[in-house]
């Protein structure tokens, strides 16, 4: 996984709550492999008409947002299925951070394993950011994971909280399996004790 560095990018707004994983990545594409480039299916049914032509009104089809690396949405972003393709498709499209008041749990978890930073901010702060985008289309935000803040040019900085292990793993582009294998001795011990203490589960 590539290390997560501070960046500045135009922010695209999707001002709706409960954007579920079926909207982010419709289930019928689940059999596509990542090599096929999953970014093309991001928000497929919102982004394209049935005949495959782009819907001009959809935010990511607008020229100034095609390169957006930041997405701002309302509460419960990524709710629904556990499909990690919802994260892959965002990442492969180029999105590196999603800002919302809250996230679907599994989606939130999946983000950190794939170099995508989900930033939960208070609803009022998200509303402010959405208003900024509405009033100044094309506005750029800066995201600094090390310093744990999001800022608009000349605007205030909004601090966000993040679990220390997740922060470390994103900053270092750490491989979680390798990290855990460092604890193999503890896992061996746990397994031995569990299996000695009960003759089930098998």
């Amino acid at each position: 996984m590539e290390a997560f560095r501070p960046f500045t990018s135009v922010a695209a707004a999707m001002p709706a709550p409960d954007i579920d994983t079926d909207q982010i990545f419709p289930a019928r594409f689940l059999k596509k492999t990542r090599k096929q480039g999953l970014g093309q299916f991001l928000f497929n049914d919102l982004r394209y008409d049935e005949d495959g032509s782009e819907r001009a009104g959809f935010v990511l089809n607008q020229p100034r947002y095609r390169q957006a690396r930041i997405l701002v949405a309302e509460r419960n972003f990524g709710c629904g299925s556990s499909r990690e393709q919802a994260v892959y498709t965002l990442f492969d499209f180029g999105i590196r951070s999603v800002i919302a008041p809250s996230f679907g749990d599994i989606f939130f978890n999946n983000c950190f394993k794939n170099g995508l930073l989900p930033i939960p901010l208070a609803p009022a702060v998200v509303a402010t950011l959405l208003a900024l985008i509405r009033n100044m289309p094309g506005i750029e935000f800066r995201i600094d994971l090390e310093g744990q803040n999001v800022s608009a040019p000349d605007g205030p900085r909004y601090r966000f909280e993040i679990d220390p292990l997740r922060k470390q793993s994103l900053l270092q582009g750490m491989d979680e399996i390798d990290f855990t294998l460092g604890y193999s001795g503890s896992i061996d011990r746990f397994e031995r004790e569990q299996e000695a203490g009960m003759d089930w589960p098998r």
Partner: protein, 472 residues
């Protein structure tokens, strides 16, 4: 080991699976059981292999085929979409190569992963269970902590048999009193989600309790736990009791003889202590509940069948108004329409929420002696459910009524196997998600119980099943 502090059931299972805990609260949790369907990208195996690692405990993983299997045939040759066939073949090949027990399409034990686990006695009280699928919560009905995980986590479990987790918050939902006739576990969970919302339990493990929950069969408890994730929960579980033990005894992978006795002794301690503190408590009166239907595009858009399609203009704030208006536009519904006036185009009885034997019995009881007036399919949750249903003659009841009796799989719940609802068509469905496009592009889904779906099939519209009960 003395624990003076009262603990919830979730905490007890959590504590007994802690490999280690870091100062920042991240806990390495040991995973007892890992289930796998056919919807995982083959990448999850490569991520382990490419590092030259071994699969740590393939004996603790069990795989099946569910999402991509055809329901009209058991012949993989009948799958002409090469991508679909590749998915089906990948799980079979990878499971074999990794030494994972596999219930494939030609095995009577094949079925939806969340139906198969409990049915085989693989999901047991006090276990930690994971699966790369959000409806893993289903297994919580047996008193296990069952978490849906992403594919990176699947690779992590394959390589280490553990997961990094932060201790979840806990929420107890009590349902008290007697459930009225014609009202089922599906109606309870739709009522709960309608009440607390699609993010009402986000970050929490929900423990269901109360006399109405105790009175549910284990299969009905699975329906309840299954949709926990639709309220945003990490998991849902129910303390095991005599009903749980009766359900498990004699199942193929359940402990036997002395091991069964030992297991029972430890399982009887698996309940929240009387004064354990939950982060949140919610209580529902079962006697108030009615058969439920959804009218919108999230499972929280639900109401009792006697109600009407809500008027978006009357929603609490601009955001809810806009959301409700969007939902009605997608669903092709006018505000104020009585639910019972809504005609359906087809009916789907199946999915990990409602495809077990009791579900099929409940639907068959309504269908018996009547005719479906719309296309309707029944998709049993597993090969064993199908066999048992056939032994009871349920298949004949459905067939006589004009239903199609299919082979087990996820089918029209997620519409990736070739079974789907046509654009604009309205489907009465026993599945768990009515999201935009879930049952096919442009498909309009109304979620409900199996008995309610059966009632919709024989009347052609959403119908209060209690009117069709008679003495049934």
């Amino acid at each position: 080991m003395g624990h003076s502090r009262p603990r919830t059931l979730t905490e007890k299972i959590w504590d007994s699976h802690k490999v280690l805990e870091r100062d920042d609260g991240q806990t390495l949790l040991y995973i007892d059981r890992h289930f796998m369907g056919d919807d995982l990208l083959p990448d999850v195996f490569d991520a382990v292999r490419d590092k030259g690692l071994r699969f740590r405990r393939p004996d603790r993983t069990f795989a099946t085929q569910d999402h991509y299997v055809p329901t009209t045939s058991r012949d993989i040759g009948s799958v002409d979409d090469p991508e679909r066939r590749a998915m089906l073949e990948a799980v079979a090949r990878n499971a074999a190569a990794a030494g994972i027990t596999f219930f494939g399409m030609d095995d009577p034990r094949q079925g939806i992963v969340h139906v198969v686990g409990p049915e085989q006695g693989l999901s047991l009280p006090g276990m930690t269970i994971v699966c790369g699928d959000s409806h893993t919560a289903t297994h919580g009905a047996l008193g296990a902590l069952a978490l849906g995980i992403g594919s990176s986590e699947v690779s992590h479990v394959l390589a280490t048999q553990t997961l990094w987790q932060v201790k979840p918050k806990t929420m107890r939902i009590r349902v008290e009193g007697r459930l009225p006739h014609g009202v089922s576990a599906k109606d309870i969970i739709l009522s709960i989600i309608g009440k607390i919302g699609v993010s009402g339990a986000t970050g929490h493990v929900v423990e269901y309790a109360g006399s109405a929950v105790r009175a549910l069969s284990v299969e009905a408890r699975m329906t309840l736990c299954n949709m926990s994730v639709e309220a945003g929960a990490r998991a849902g579980l129910i303390a095991p009791d005599e009903a749980t033990f009766d359900y498990l005894q004699g199942r193929p992978y359940a402990p036997k003889d002395d091991a069964w006795q030992n297991a029972l002794r430890s399982w009887r301690d698996l309940a929240s202590d009387p004064d354990a503190i939950f982060d949140r408590e919610v209580t529902l009166d079962a006697t108030d509940l009615a058969p439920m239907v959804t009218w919108g595009i999230t499972p929280a858009d639900a109401g009792p069948i006697g109600g009407r399609v809500p008027d978006p203009a009357k929603a609490a704030n601009a955001e809810s108004q806009e959301r409700a208006a969007k939902a009605l536009a997608y669903m092709g519904l006018a505000p104020g329409t009585p639910f019972e006036a809504i005609a359906v185009d087809r009916v789907f009885i199946g999915s990990c929420t409602n495809s077990r034997l009791e579900d099929l019995r409940a639907a068959a009881a309504i269908v018996d002696g009547r005719q479906s007036v719309v296309p309707a399919i029944v998709v049993p949750g597993s090969g064993l459910v199908k066999r048992q249903a056939e032994a009871e003659g349920l298949d004949l009841i459905f067939r006589k009524a004009g239903f199609e009796w299919r082979e087990p799989g996820c089918s029209m719940c997620i519409a990736v196997n070739g079974d789907y609802v046509e654009p604009g068509q309205r489907c009465a469905s026993t599945s768990n998600r009515n999201f935009v496009g879930r049952q096919g592009r442009g498909a309009r889904t109304h979620l409900m119980s199996p008995a309610m779906a059966a009632a919709a099939a024989v009347t052609g519209r959403l119908t209060d099943v209690r009117k069709l009960l008679g003495g049934r």
